[in-house]
Amino acid sequence: MTIERTRPSGPDTSATVAVVTQGATRRRPRRSARSPLSSIVRHAVLIAGAVLMIYPVLWLLVSSLRPADAIFRDPGLLLTGIDFTNYIDGWNALEYPFGNYLLNSVLLVLGSIVGNLVSCALAAYAFARLEFRGKRWMFAAMLLTIMIPIHVIIVPQYIFFSQLGLVNTYVPLLLPKFLATDAFFVFLMVQFIRGIPRDLDEAARIDGAGHPRIFFQVILPLMVPALAATAIFTFIGSWNDFFSALIYLTDARVQTVPVALRSFIDTSGSSSFGSMFAMSIVSLIPVFLVFLFGQRYLVKGIATTGLK
């Protein structure tokens, strides 16, 4: 697989994930002798590109702090005064205060993270370190599930959960996480564990440790970067998840932030853009914070698996 190839061989146990940093130091000298002019041009192009990319998001932020009608008048980023009216209006615009939806989202996200970490790490250990009958086809089947569209599963799942009276609960959204259905993370962790030297397992085994102990005391502490990447990706995936939340959460009391934001579009026309912008910003803050503090793991995790 592609992934195999990008794994550098080195003493670093976090080999799989260290692609970015290792390579960076290796290649740098090659390009040192460049003319300053071409360097300036390149920086200018990149800065222009970066501004273009980020402008809409900054404008969203600035506009949310202006009077609501300015959204359709002022394309600039200059903020003359800070006006929190949109935030106050938006917070109270829906059936419940926006805090209700935020809390729902937080609970769902935390549950999803715990579920994915536990179930995927367990499965990954078996695939990466243990021999058992059916391993080959199970691993292949696991990879195949990455390709299967959710739509082919969600109709019967919905029927099943609705017959059990579990629509408008978090069970349909959380149960899959505790059963390792996000095969991508299993794959990420398998790749990572394969990069951990087997000598460590052997040493523990000679000392009399069984598989549970090897897993918990040897492998798990060493795979923190992979766990962190999984936690962050799960956070962003669950926080932004719209499709399944739209299907399973129809009662406003249990709805999450994305579904709540959507009801802004339902309730009124363009006049509510101020509230919408403000609550959009509120909904993006956690993602932004995760990006800020988890970037290291994000960048490396992406380089490892090609996750979004």
Partner: protein, 309 residues
């Protein structure tokens, strides 16, 4: 006796079979959650969905076997055929464009330049935000008749159209949103570029190869497995996109069904009209399409993907 026999056979194989058995048992325990999920939440629902695809079912009355009717209906359903056209246009335009952008920016950044982490972060950020409802809402405003884009155009004296209310441009705005999130594949390309040994370029330079030749003879072949990997992932993901089109069009797929993605039509059939049998048949249509595209990709890869080991 049997215990003794077991003991003897264990002794004969040097205890290997026993440890293997123990390891197997441990493995299945570790795999238990995944096995439950795989069979209970993937295989079983898929089987159920396959059955439902041949029935008429609306959640209230029990499913009624209708044979191939759902599938023949699909071929006669003009809205479905339109949704396929919309989805294919979206995938075929946005996936290659996004990857080209990702590769170009990665190549510009891969020069050991100052400020690399800064640029990398800025270009990557939209990938994280792009799948959110919040950004889709922003897009809905930006490309509205008096949205941000037209406000900016007005400053240079151009009166822009209502991008989202015009069937000719509505899909384009969603394609643009997809391209905007080129940061994730860019990061994969960056990692890939780092893996190309510098000496290849040095040798080529000594032999007088110019920049274009170095790109087509060294960078592209050595990067091809990663391009392939990105292409497969992006195709699978793009065929399933839903949120952006749903929000930008206000849940309608309009104007004139111009942003009615296949997945949105499926959602409408299954969860608004509760036509579960038809929705299941549609879902299998999507499986076939994604499967076919992925298979085609793998077959075609023999000609253009280069593995150096």
């Amino acid at each position: 006796m049997s215990a003794l026999g077991e003991l003897r056979s264990t002794a004969k194989t040097g205890g290997h079979a026993a440890t293997r058995k123990r390891e197997s048992k441990a493995a299945y325990l570790f795999l238990l959650p995944w096995l439950l999920g795989f069979f209970g939440l993937a295989v079983l629902p898929m089987a159920a969905s396959l059955y439902l695809a041949f029935t008429d079912y609306n959640l209230i009355r029990p499913p009624e076997w209708t044979g191939l009717e759902n599938f023949t209906r699909m071929f006669e359903d003009a809205r479905l055929m339109n949704s396929l056209r919309v989805t294919f246009t979206y995938v075929i335009v946005s996936v290659p464009l996004q990857l080209v952008f990702a590769l170009v920016v990665a190549m510009i950044l891969d020069r050991g330049m100052r400020g690399l982490p800064f640029y990398r972060s800025i270009f990557y950020l939209p990938s994280l935000l792009g799948s959110s409802v919040a950004i889709a809402i922003l897009w809905r405003q930006m490309f509205g008749t008096s949205g941000l884009v037209n406000q900016l155009l007005a400053m240079i004296g151009i009166e822009g159209p209502g991008w989202i209310s015009d069937p000719n441009t509505a899909l384009g705005t969603i394609i643009l949103l997809h391209i905007w999130t080129f940061g994730a594949p860019m990061l994969i390309f960056l990692a890939g570029l780092r893996q190309i040994p510098a000496m290849y370029y040095e040798a080529a330079e000594v032999d007088g190869a110019n920049r274009v030749q170095r790109f087509f003879r060294i960078t592209l072949p050595l990067l091809s497995p990663i391009i392939f990997f990105n292409l497969v992932l992006q195709l699978i993901g793009s065929f399933q996109s839903f949120t952006q089109a749903y929000i930008v069009s206000g849940g309608t797929g309009g104007p004139a069904d111009s942003t009615m993605f296949y997945t949105m039509y499926l959602y409408q059939k299954g969860f608004a009209e509760l036509d579960m049998g038809y929705a299941s048949a549609m879902a299998w249509g999507l499986v076939v399409i994604i499967g076919a595209f992925t298979a085609l990709n793998f077959i075609a890869s023999k000609w253009w993907v280069f593995y150096d080991d």
